[in-house]
Every structure is written in structure tokens, then in C-alpha cells.
């Protein structure tokens, strides 16, 4: 029975339970709602939950565990010497799964029955048969792969049947047990309350678990990478030069330099402009100007970064060449290509302006009016008040905002992919192309490199480093912002 049917049946049982539970408890109470501990809906919900939740929970676990269990037993059938030269167990197992999948489709569509599958011998005709069914195999099926695929098929067949029996049994048990418990003095409302709590907690933990999952998966790939490539070269080397001869130099430092340099220029653009805009909006602008300018500024934040990338490549880059290029207005010949640290930095800075300004605006607005009154009351002008009282009072929050902006700049991808160039080097010249961690992650993964080579796996190490870097910045920023908030509350 397919999975969707199983789920539907459980849900149908739950729905039926809901109505029967309601009716039953009302009948037990002689139709008098006031004789019940809880409203009838709670009894119905309780029955429905008992029928659905444990069954679906077990189903979910089963789905997670069964494949890896089968994988383990089947892969034990492949002896190391059966693995062809230049391949590995993972690749062989991928073949096994494909063949098993093909056979499964064959059985499902009725092209073969289990006996025929059993009788199959490894030969070209397996490939042909499966090919007719739309399952393309790259090469002829070797006997050991076919054998493994067969036991794979059998094991998952058994597993699926057991799964169905267990899930249905659980659902029915839940239904019956909760039905027996449904009596007028049963505290169904409290049970439902606990179920709601559990649901909310599950949602919260899911969010956290996903993050943990992401980090762990990156961590494992990173560990694989460090098994193939020296960590000393990665962290302390000075050259980034991937190649496919197997002697790549994969060092993060030149990329980190590019990342930090571009982010620095972006902040140089975004911080003053964003901050001044925030000061104008919160201190000088009248309510009408603010109502109109603030949303306008925040629209900038909603522009997809790829659009900024285009802007960098097609507008800002050529513009900078017109200024600093060979035939440029300044006649200095400093810049030869449109992609450069400056191009990417300036555009990224523009992207960050609304981010900085809207955060700073909130923070400046949180400075109590009494503070400004105190300063104005002493005969200070508005700008003296802002410089000497408001900004110092808001400074920790503003620093937090800048750190958040920095962490966005460091993690930004599209703008640098399009605007920064692809050359990894240490240079102070902002007119040269440079590259960043994020752009290298993109290019290492989008090539057709083999997924187990250090040249590809380095992307995970880069990603993890980036993650740690931005996480650190965010934590620091949030810590500062929170500390500042406490001052006025």
C-alpha cells in the first residue's frame, strides 16, 4: 500500500474518532454539557489526537530509519574487493539503489512479477529491460549489484508491510484506548492543552534542529575535506589555486582578505549614509516626511541582490571605469575592468544603507525624549544635542547595527559574484578584481567537479568558516544591542 494511502487512512480514523468521541461523551452525560468536565469538542479532539499522533509519529521515525537500516545490511553484501578501480562503496550503493528502484517500478507497473525478478540474471538484458521502463543505467549491471538490488527490494518490501501493520495497529489502539477513557469526568481539555503545548514546542525545536542539522552536515563534509587536504594549508596558506591535477592550493586567507576588503568598503559607504539618513529621519524630519521617506528607504532593502549585482556590473562598474579608467575623466588609468573591489563594495554599501538606517532609526528613537529635553534646556542646539547626547546614548545600539550590517556584507553573494571578479589575491588596490569566500563557494560547487574531491569539498570548509564568522558577529551584535536595551527599560 502506498504511503499516501496509509496517511489518509490514519487521518480518516482520527476524523471519525473526533465525531464518535463527541457523540459518545454527550450520550454518557445524558446530553447535559454541564455534566462534562470539558466541552464535547475536547473529547473529540482527544480521541482524534490519540488515533493520529502516535501512529504518524512512528511512521515518521520509520521513514527516517528504514532506509539506512536496509542500506547497512545490503552494503555489507558488497565485499571491498568487488568495488571496481576508481570507484567507492557510495557509488556502488548508488547503482544498487537505482537498480532496485527500477525493479520496483517494474513490479509496480506489472511488467514483471516477483518470481521473474528473482529469476533475473545479471546480463545486458537487465539494463535493456529497465531501459524500456524508463530507468536508464550507465553501464551493464554486474552480478553483485543485481544481487544486492534484489535483497534491497525484498527488504524494503518487508519493511513497508511491517510499517503498514504497525502504524495501523497503533492508530486503532489509540482510538480504542481513548474511546474507553472518554467519560464525562475525564479531563480532556487538559490533555488537549498539553497537546497544543507539545505542538508549539515541536515547531520551536524543529527550527533549532534544522540549524543544528545544517551545521552538522557542513561539519561532516568539512571533516572529509580535512581528511584530503591539509588544514594548515587551508587556514595558513597564502595561495588559492584549485586545479584538477590533485595538487591544488586551497587557502582561505586570500579569499578572506577579499571578503573583508569588500565588506569594509561597503561599510564605508553604508554606515555614514545610513546613519545620517537615520538621524535626519528621526530627529529632523517632520511626521509627513518620515511617513513618506522611511518606507521608501526600506523598499531598497526589498530589492533582490541579483538586481544589485546587475547594477554593479552594468552601471557602477562602467561608471567607475569612466572615472578611473584609461580614457576616464580623471585620466589616471587605475582601473581596467568593470569588476573590482570598489564596484562590489560600493553597490553592496548601497544595499546596506536601508539596513543600517532602519536599525539605527529604531535605536535613536529609543533614546528617551527627556534626554534631548535636558540638553536643549541647557541651551544646546539640535546638532549639539545629537552629537553629544543622542548618539553617545545610542552608540552601543548603533555599533550593534553596524555589526549586523557587516555580517550581511560578509555573507553577501550575488553582488560579489557579479561585481567583484574572480582573482584571489592579497592586494590593497581597490581598483583590482578580487574574489570572496562566497563567490568561491559558488564556483567550486557549480563546476562539474567530482563531489568527493578536495576542490569541491573545500566549499563546505569555506561555508563553515563563513558561518562561524557571521555567527560570531551576530552574537556579538545581539549581545551589544540587548545590553543597551536594558539601560532604558
Amino acid at each position: 500500500m502506498p504511503l499516501s494511502w496509509l496517511v489518509l487512512i490514519v487521518l480518516a480514523l482520527a476524523a471519525a474518532g473526533y465525531f464518535v468521541g463527541r457523540i459518545r461523551v454527550l450520550k454518557l452525560a445524558g446530553g447535559d454539557v454541564r455534566a462534562l468536565h470539558s466541552l464535547p469538542v475536547y473529547y473529540g479532539a482527544n480521541v482524534a489526537l490519540s488515533a493520529a499522533v502516535p501512529a504518524l509519529g512512528v511512521l515518521l521515525l520509520w521513514l527516517l530509519i528504514q532506509p539506512s537500516l536496509i542500506e547497512n545490511t545490503v552494503s555489507a553484501m558488497i565485499a571491498p574487493e568487488m568495488i571496481p578501480e576508481g570507484s567507492n562503496l557510495n557509488l556502488v550503493m548508488a547503482d544498487v539503489r537505482r537498480v532496485a528502484d527500477g525493479l520496483y517500478t517494474a513490479v509496480e507497473t506489472g511488467a514483471m512479477n516477483m518470481a521473474q525478478v528473482d529469476a533475473l540474471q545479471a546480463s545486458a538484458d537487465v539494463r535493456a529491460t529497465l531501459g524500456e521502463l524508463g530507468v536508464a543505467l550507465g553501464q551493464d549491471v554486474r552480478p553483485e549489484v543485481l544481487a544486492a538490488a534484489k535483497s534491497y527490494l525484498v527488504a524494503s518490501g518487508t519493511g513497508n508491510t511491517a510499517r503498514m501493520v504497525v502504524v495501523l495497529a497503533l492508530s486503532l489502539t489509540g482510538l480504542v484506548l481513548s474511546m474507553i477513557r472518554t467519560k464525562p469526568d475525564y479531563r480532556a481539555r487538559n490533555v488537549v492543552e498539553r497537546a497544543v503545548l507539545a505542538l508549539l514546542m515541536a515547531a520551536a525545536s524543529l527550527a533549532i534542529l534544522t540549524t543544528v542539522g545544517i551545521v552538522l552536515s557542513m561539519l561532516f563534509e568539512t571533516i572529509n575535506f580535512f581528511g584530503l587536504h591539509s588544514w594548515k594549508d587551508f587556514f595558513f596558506g597564502t595561495i588559492w589555486a584549485p586545479n584538477f591535477r590533485g595538487d591544488s592550493e586551497l587557502s582561505i586567507l586570500p579569499l578572506l582578505w577579499g571578503t573583508l576588503y569588500i565588506s569594509f568598503i561597503a561599510l564605508l559607504v553604508a554606515v555614514p549614509i545610513g546613519l545620517f539618513a537615520a538621524i535626519y529621519l528621526s530627529e529632523y524630519a517632520g511626521p509627513k516626511t518620515r511617513a513618506f521617506a522611511k518606507p521608501l528607504l526600506e523598499i531598497l532593502a526589498g530589492i533582490p541582490t541579483i538586481v544589485y549585482g546587475l547594477f554593479a556590473l552594468l552601471t557602477v562598474g562602467p561608471m567607475l571605469i569612466n572615472l578611473f579608467g584609461q580614457t576616464g575623466a580623471l585620466g589616471v588609468n587605475w582601473m581596467s575592468g568593470a569588476t573590482s573591489v570598489l564596484t562590489a563594495g560600493v553597490v553592496m554599501g548601497i544595499m546596506l544603507i536601508p539596513f543600517v538606517s532602519s536599525l539605527s532609526d529604531d535605536i535613536i528613537n529609543a533614546v528617551p525624549q527627556a534626554m534631548r529635553d535636558g540638553s536643549l534646556g541647557l541651551g544646546a542646539t539640535q546638532s549639539e544635542t545629537i552629537r553629544q547626547v543622542v548618539i553617545p546614548a545610542a552608540l552601543p545600539g548603533i555599533v550593534g547595527a553596524i555589526l549586523l550590517a557587516a555580517s550581511r556584507a560578509i555573507g553577501e553573494t550575488m553582488i560579489v559574484v557579479m561585481g567583484a571578479g574572480a582573482i584571489a589575491k592579497f592586494s590593497l588596490n581597490p581598483f583590482e578584481s578580487m574574489t570572496t569566500i562566497t563567490t568561491r563557494i559558488v564556483s567550486q560547487l557549480t563546476g562539474d567537479g567530482d563531489f568527493s574531491s578536495p576542490e569541491t569539498l573545500v566549499a563546505f570548509a569555506l561555508g563553515l568558516t563563513l558561518f562561524v564568522l557571521t555567527l560570531g558577529l551576530n552574537v556579538l551584535a545581539l549581545y551589544i544591542v540587548r545590553k543597551y536595551r536594558e539601560q532604558y527599560e
Binding site: A370, G377, L378, G379, P392, A393
Partner: protein, 265 residues
């Protein structure tokens, strides 16, 4: 009933420092001050009394144009200081506020050190020639604010770390450090213990020699002790204004009498 021993001393109360004519204040549609006329003498202490919400703070804030900072607030009528209309277009409110200092109802120290809090005004107005001068101004102001002994060992600690009452005295010291001609004090003793209150009252009495002081207070005793003139506000109206001794012993208006004897408020 009230301690009125200090009143009516040798002060020249005849020259008018501040005079308000037909002042109306609106917060949006709320009419908060209704047609107030008052003449406040130079070198004297004037007390504003009245029930909560009657407009004392609002009127006080008119005198140094602090109401300008409130968007919805509108002031009509004339207020003259030394014969000059402070709501005239040519008057710079910033300069006005340097001349008319204010202590706010809620203490509002800057998030700076105690020293920098006091030095803030003198620095802005260039009152000190050098560091030693500034040190002297700070010390003198803190002494007059009756807080020197408590903070002299921690001048560089943040002013926000002081207790409520200490903050209030810090704000008083901050206001007098700029040597204003008029000092507006909005309930300056609301968070002070009797000893500090007595010290502040002493300060007010001393300031009277140089400045005119306007003080808002909820304490009848305080009004009676420190002021020469008293104004009683009620629901935005200036109900009665006169010599403190007269207001407290022989009020003309029945509302004044009810208020000072504790029947309304």
C-alpha cells in the same frame, strides 16, 4: 500654620523679569493653558501650585520655549523677558534656553560621567577658559546642588548610576552650572529626603540674590517657605496670583482656599 518666616525680606520685587500676556497653550485640541496673565519679578522666587494636570509644567515650559519640541503643542499670546517677546521670530530659542535654565520634573541625567554632565553646559557655551576653570565650575555647581560630598570621589562614574534623588540634585547642579538668569524648576524636590530638600531650598534662597526662580511644587509648606509670590493654577486657569503670605493666609478665591486646605486636588 505655615512657616512663612523667610518671606517678604529685603528683595526688590518691583522690577518685572517675565511677563506673560493672554497666554494660551493647546496640545492638539486640548486647551491646556487658558488665558494666563502673570508678571514674575526679578530676583525673587515664584511658586506655581495646583492640582496634578492643571498645566503648571506646561506653562513653565512656555517660558523657555521647551514646548517647541512637542509637535502638537501650540502657544498663543506673548511672553516677555526683560521686555523682549521670546516668541518673536528673531529670537533664537537656543540662546533663550541658555539664559532661562530648567530643571525637569523627571531627573534626566545624560549617559555620561557626573563630571561631564555638569560640564556639558559650560563647554557648549564656552564658559570655562581652561580645565582648571572647568573643574572649579563643576565643583561649585555640585556644592550648590548639595551633592558634592556624595559624588566627589566618583566624578567620573556615570550620572545614570546615581539614585533618583541624587540624579535630581545632579540635574539642579547641571542647570545652575550655565549661570542662567532665570531658573525654572519643575518639582525639584519630589524625590528628595528632608535633609536634601532643606539644602535645595537653601540653594533656591541663595539663587534669589542673582536670578529669578520659578518653582513648581506640590508641597504647600515648600511654597510657603521659599517663595515670595505664589500662583495657583486650576484646570488650565491661573486662578489666583499674589504674595505668598497673602495666598496662604488670606486667599481671595474659594478654589485656592479649598486647595491649600486640602479639599480639592
Amino acid at each position: 500654620m505655615y512657616d512663612i518666616a523667610k518671606m517678604g525680606t529685603d528683595v526688590d520685587q518691583n522690577t518685572t523679569k517675565i511677563s506673560a500676556r493672554n497666554v494660551q497653550v493647546y496640545y492638539g485640541d486640548t486647551h491646556a493653558i487658558k488665558d494666563v496673565n502673570v508678571e514674575i519679578g526679578a530676583r525673587s522666587v515664584t511658586a506655581f501650585i495646583g492640582p496634578s494636570g492643571c498645566g503648571k509644567s506646561t506653562f513653565l515650559r512656555c517660558i523657555n520655549r521647551m514646548n517647541d519640541t512637542i509637535d502638537v503643542c501650540r502657544v498663543d499670546g506673548d511672553i516677555l523677558i526683560d521686555g523682549e517677546d521670546i516668541y518673536d521670530k528673531r529670537v533664537d530659542p537656543v540662546q533663550l534656553r541658555a539664559k532661562v535654565g530648567m530643571v525637569f520634573q523627571k531627573p534626566n541625567p545624560f549617559p555620561k560621567s557626573i563630571y561631564d554632565n555638569i560640564a556639558y553646559g559650560p563647554r557648549i557655551h564656552g564658559l570655562a577658559k581652561n580645565k582648571a576653570d572647568l573643574d572649579e565650575i563643576v565643583e561649585k555647581s555640585l556644592r550648590r546642588g548639595a551633592i558634592w560630598n556624595e559624588v566627589k570621589d566618583r566624578l567620573h562614574a556615570p550620572g545614570t548610576g546615581l539614585s533618583g534623588g541624587q540624579q535630581q540634585r545632579l540635574c539642579i547642579a547641571r542647570a545652575i552650572a550655565t549661570e542662567p538668569e532665570v531658573l525654572l524648576m519643575d518639582e525639584p524636590c519630589s524625590a528628595l529626603d528632608p535633609i536634601a530638600t532643606a539644602q535645595v531650598e537653601e540653594l533656591i534662597d541663595e539663587l534669589r540674590n542673582q536670578f529669578s526662580v520659578v518653582i513648581v511644587t506640590h508641597s504647600m509648606q515648600q511654597a510657603a517657605r521659599v517663595s515670595q509670590k505664589t500662583a495657583f493654577f486650576h484646570l488650565g486657569n491661573l486662578v489666583e496670583y499674589g504674595d505668598t503670605s497673602q495666598i496662604f493666609t488670606n486667599p481671595q478665591d474659594e478654589r485656592t482656599e479649598s486647595y491649600i486646605t486640602g479639599r480639592i486636588g
